[in-house]
Amino acid sequence: MRRALVIFVLVAVAIPLMLAMAELPRHGSPDAPPQTHVAPYYLEHGPEEAGAENVVTAVILNYRGFDTQGEVTVIFTAMAAVVAVLVAGGAGVPADRAAAPATTPVSLIVRFIVRVLAPFIVLFSVYVILNGHVTPGGGFQGGTILGALLIALTLIMSESDARALLPQRPQRLLQAAAPLTFFAVGMIGLLLTGDYLAYPHSGPTIWIATLMLTVVEIGIGIGGAMVVATIFRTMGADR
């Protein structure tokens, strides 16, 4: 009975979707509307208008920069949510299951390798963040690498050491780094050009545009790393 119902639901979902997919413009065709309408403009004007050879980055930071501001807010929301749900959530741990081991001992090799690689990983992440406009990469990707490093370091350290890794006092500020940089850059854009989140791309002030883009990338990177690490640590701390 239950199985029949499940099959029915799946079929009822799949058949209309398949029908729709069959009638969509042909996959990979260069004449399909997505390839002829908005995207060509990006490909044609992106590099000089947005100042980024990587058109994906141009779209993310320029044409759809507002989306990206929303996106960094989403991830901040997730962090706030995780913290709000897990912090000081009252007791109530079932006695028999509470006795999970506090930490799993990490082998010497892992420790050693993480420590040795750490500077290189930082370097790599900085590279990814800063080179986002010419190569695949950018703030999110670099930030995730940095965040992964923080997680890895947390794994191999004692709790107090791991705590010392991240600056305590401005921690909450750093967690909000990405949305804050967006806001700051957006407001500067508003002041300079009269439009929120606009970059002064033409004229002698072009260096300002580049600076702003770089700041945004760095902000996303730091904010992303902090958020990812915070989520992980909050989950881990709440044993």
């Binding site: 042909r26 260069p30 995207a39 993310i60 989306d67 997730a78 995780v82 741990v93």
Partner: protein, 117 residues
């Protein structure tokens, strides 16, 4: 229809993936597995949207010396970058909820939880 689907095989594949995810969401009792099903569905939708941007023989849309059109549509990629972040956020929240449920009720099996309620 089958012939038309053959041309849009990528899209069809994402539908199948979507249904697999949905199956897991509906049938799995374990909350984490349920949520993994949801992640599969997310992946399916992302794959679909990214596939929209594909141009046959297209290159990555990174301009520079020595690259020739056609380029792959950059817009879906930009969108899905956002989409992935959203999915990550949802997953993080879901997992922390599951942690709390486990602490409160001592189980994360949906059928057992219904009894607890």
């Amino acid at each position: 229809m089958i012939a038309a689907l053959w041309h849009n095989l990528d899209y069809a594949a994402s539908v199948i993936l979507f249904c697999i995810g949905l199956y897991a969401v509906i049938t799995k009792e374990n909350l984490i597995k349920k949520f993994m099903g949801l992640n599969i569905m997310e992946t399916a939708v992302f794959a679909f949207i990214v596939a929209i941007g594909v141009v046959e023989g297209g290159e990555a849309p990174i301009m520079g010396a020595g690259v020739e059109p056609p380029f792959i549509n950059p817009l879906p990629q930009a969108l899905i970058l956002t989409g992935i972040v959203v999915a990550l956020s949802t997953t993080a929240l879901a997992l922390s909820l599951i942690i709390r449920i486990w602490k409160q009720c001592g189980t994360i099996e949906a059928d057992e939880l219904r009894e607890v309620e």
